[in-house]
């Protein structure tokens, strides 16, 4: 009895501090919260929602898309939600979260599936602010189902990953580390941060950064060769699994919109989901991962690096998307 009483007293003190802190200290939204709030605020006018990793976040410009749509007479307004390394199956949770709001004009959700069907829960990113922010109570059942459905042979590994997810959820609600972050925000250690940030990489690190940059920033003949390699591999028409995009489409359709899928104009070869190949209700796939069909997106002058377009390429890609979606909408009619 005494044990229970003491436990409850401890919990009371614990909760009191969290409540008082919440009441006294101003709430500072995280990256996800900020992005979500801005998207949700613009949802009333949005008819085409782009969702995906940095290929959406950094390479699609709704302004350029909307301007092109207006020019060609396509009655559409675009909005986007793009986050680094935002991968396939993880998108499902976000579709559910975002579409839980009222979207009066939404017709199409364009989902970038370039990065494939996994979740970006890499140990390198564990306990980073964004990862922590993502792990809310609503993510738990979703994560449970995700691991339950996947490779039963890897159950011990999945169980361990699931425990790590639970740790993230606990850390999220216990506000672990937020004090240090708050001190950062109060600029107590302001002078320290630039000092550390300016740290020069060690000699080996310098070399690997150089090598990675060289690999990412191919120039001249090396770049052309990479494009040719990609074009050749695309001819082999590799198909990948399509169950998960079909699931994503079902979720979108349940909310009264249509789902299209996107393979971004990256310089490495991505497999198409097989359900995009044939059938009466095949997946609509906008495949830009093909230098022969979209040579303008693979011209060296519009490339920032192997994966991304530069400032010149972004509006170009957005305009092509507008035209492509216009054609698709007319076909659908």
């Amino acid at each position: 009895m005494g044990f229970v009483k003491n436990f409850l007293l401890t919990a009371l003190g614990f909760l009191l501090v969290i409540l008082v802190r919440g009441a006294v200290l101003p709430h500072v939204p995280g990256v996800i919260e900020t992005r979500t709030a801005s998207l949700v605020a613009s949802r009333r006018s949005c008819s085409i929602l782009f969702l995906g990793p940095s290929y959406v976040g950094n390479m699609i410009e709704p302004k350029a898309f909307n301007a092109e749509a207006k020019r060609i007479g396509f009655n559409a307004t675009a909005c986007k939600y793009g986050t680094e390394a935002f991968k396939g199956y993880e998108l499902r949770l976000w579709i559910e979260r975002l579409l839980a709001h009222d979207w009066p004009r939404l017709k199409v959700v364009v989902i970038d599936i370039t990065l494939g069907d996994t979740i970006g829960f890499n140990p390198d990113n564990w306990f980073k602010p964004r990862t922590l922010e993502w792990h809310t109570a609503s993510a738990v059942p979703w994560l449970f189902n995700y691991y339950r459905k996947r490779a039963p042979g890897r159950a011990p590994e999945h169980a361990r990953l699931f425990v790590s997810h639970l740790e993230h959820v606990a850390a999220h609600y216990l506000e672990i580390g937020q004090g240090t972050e708050a001190l950062d925000r109060l600029r107590v250690m302001e002078r320290l941060v630039p000092a550390v940030a300016r740290e020069e990489p060690a000699v080996d690190a310098k070399r690997s950064v150089r090598e990675a940059k060289a690999k990412k920033n191919l120039k001249g003949a090396a770049y052309e060769q990479q494009v040719k390699k990609l074009a050749a591999s695309k001819k082999k028409r590799a198909f990948g699994p399509s169950q998960w995009p079909l699931e994503l489409r079902d979720v979108v359709r349940q909310r009264g919109a249509e789902a299209y899928f996107l393979l971004a104009p990256v310089l490495y070869s991505r497999a198409k989901p097989s359900a995009a190949a044939a059938g009466p209700d095949r997946l609509v796939l906008l495949d830009f991962n093909d230098p022969e069909r979209y040579p303008e997106l693979y011209a060296e002058k519009v490339r920032g690096n192997t994966s991304h377009l530069n400032r010149a390429g972004i509006p170009l890609y957005s305009k092509i998307l507008a035209r492509k979606l216009y054609r698709q909408s007319r076909r659908a009619r």
Binding site: L9, T10, G13, V17, E167, T180, R191, V196
Partner: protein, 472 residues
């Protein structure tokens, strides 16, 4: 599984609940063993075979030892135990280091290099449990203790999770007798245990881990920073390693107390030591006393005069350095401590200690000798922390400043001074604090504990740093 991670709290809550819910002592010990193996296997289940193998081997050796009277045969048994433990340690921890060093040596004299290194993962805490197991068989060999017939007891002694991976190194003669008396929850000093755990958590998560994020860049690129900041970084690392290791120990002692068991004290305000000898009586006490009892004294100890004792000290400290890992920096660290201890011994024998020079002003003598000891210890820890001897060399003799020299925040000097004062005050008022904790009514203690826990979590860095001593 690190003590500061949420998964540990979940694990401990289950272990604690089931442990006290079980009625019989035997069932509790079996449960403790299962929990300890789960804790260890959580890192990598393959390591379980290793710890189980070491346990079975030493258990068997110790059982056989009393049945053998012939000294030669007894020696054979104990040598077998030592070879098995040191062999495991040598293979996992030192094999690649020695092979690599030999290969480098061949290259240096113009002969072709060879690569016979193995891809081995170092099992967590291997140095701790092998030393613990060795001390048991040595004590049985010396007839200081009787072998434990109950395998579960012995296996639990080796694998007891609070101290399994980073000590304190527990002696069989102090720990195993605790299994002979039934544990009662009413006897557990719950408040002291929770207080210790909270203090340990504060040291580890709020101090050590926050310092780590500040000084890690400095140790990876020492010459990019101003010389004054390198001095600051060296002092901060001394604080970090102390808070990391002693914080871990406090949590280990607190967790063991909650299960009704006592662990040995491992730290006693080491940075208030007035000389290196005192430092080693206050720092990692379980290792230094282990080295004293099983290495320094068998080597001859203080016999052989000041020079003989100095030689024994040097050998002990060199091996103590090597115990930390296969790196020349650890050897140099051990050498410098051995040198410091030997010089102190010779100096004391001739002059009568540092205080003798300032006999008229004992307080000043204490301050100066404490500062000098800290300076030496911090310099040694700097070498200990650097990735290799080259980096350590650059740390000490790098340029004072460069055109693009980086600076640490000057606020850190204030933080260092604050931590120094806290170290002093905590030692001075530790007894009073413990008495206060015991005296406060439940209605104040437990809500305060909850409030402190919420505040500690708030200032815990997002990524939990592994304990520094896990790698040893």
């Amino acid at each position: 599984m690190i003590f500061t991670q949420p998964v540990f709290f979940l694990f401990f809550a289950v272990t604690f609940g089931v442990f006290w819910a079980l009625r019989g002592e035997r069932a509790r010990r079996v449960w403790l063993l299962v929990a300890s193996y789960f804790f260890y296997g959580y890192w990598d289940y393959r390591f379980l075979a290793l710890i189980l193998g070491c346990t079975v081997f030493d258990y068997t050796v110790a059982l056989w030892l009393p049945r053998v009277d012939a000294p030669a045969k007894r020696r054979l048994f104990i040598v077998a135990s030592l070879c098995a433990n040191l062999g495991v340690l040598g293979l996992f921890k030192y094999y690649n280091f020695f092979v690599d060093s030999a290969s480098e040596l061949l290259r240096a004299v113009g002969l072709p290099r060879f690569d016979a290194t193995l891809k081995l993962v170092l099992p967590a805490g291997i140095s701790f449990f092998t030393f613990q197991s060795m001390s048991y068989t040595i004590d049985v060999y010396r007839r200081e203790i009787e072998p434990r017939r109950n395998f579960i007891d012995f296996a639990t002694f080796i694998a007891f999770f609070p101290q399994l991976v980073a000590g304190p190194i527990v002696r069989a003669k102090t720990f195993l007798p605790q299994f002979d008396t039934p544990r009662r929850f009413a006897d557990v000093a719950v408040r002291q245990a929770l207080y210790l755990f909270a203090v340990g958590y504060f040291k580890k998560a709020c101090v050590a881990d926050n310092i780590a994020s500040v000084i890690d860049p400095l140790f990876s690129q020492p010459t990019a920073f101003h010389a004054a900041d390198r001095v600051l970084g060296a002092a901060l690392y001394s604080v970090q390693i102390y808070c990391d290791f002693s914080g871990y120990t406090d949590m280990a002692v607190g967790a063991a107390m909650l299960l009704g068991y006592e662990l040995a004290k491992n730290f006693d305000a080491p940075y208030l030591s007035r000389n290196l000898r005192e430092f080693w009586q206050r720092w990692h006490i379980s290792l230094s006393s282990w080295l004293r009892d099983y290495l320094y004294i068998p080597l001859g100890g203080n016999r052989g005069g000041p020079w003989g004792a100095s030689r024994n000290l040097m050998i002990t400290m060199l091996l103590g350095g090597l115990w930390h890992g296969a790196n020349w920096t650890f050897l140099l660290w051990g050498f410098l401590h051995g040198l410091g201890l030997a010089v102190h011994r010779l100096w004391t024998a001739r002059v009568g200690g540092g205080g003798a020079l300032l006999s008229g002003s004992p307080r000043l003598a204490t301050i100066l000798s404490t500062a000098f000891t800290f300076f030496w210890v911090a310099a040694c820890f700097t070498i200990f922390r650097c990735a290799d001897i080259g980096t350590a060399f650059r740390f000490f003799v790098g340029p004072v400043a460069r055109a693009e020299t980086l600076r640490l925040a000057p606020d850190l000097w204030l933080i260092l001074a604050f931590l120094g004062v806290a170290h002093f005050l905590f030692k001075r008022y530790a007894q009073d604090l413990r008495a206060f904790v015991a005296r406060v009514p439940d209605l104040a203690f437990y809500p305060a504990l909850g409030a402190i826990a919420a505040t500690l979590l708030y200032f815990t860095p997002l990524s939990a740093e592994p304990f520094i001593y896990f790698q040893f």
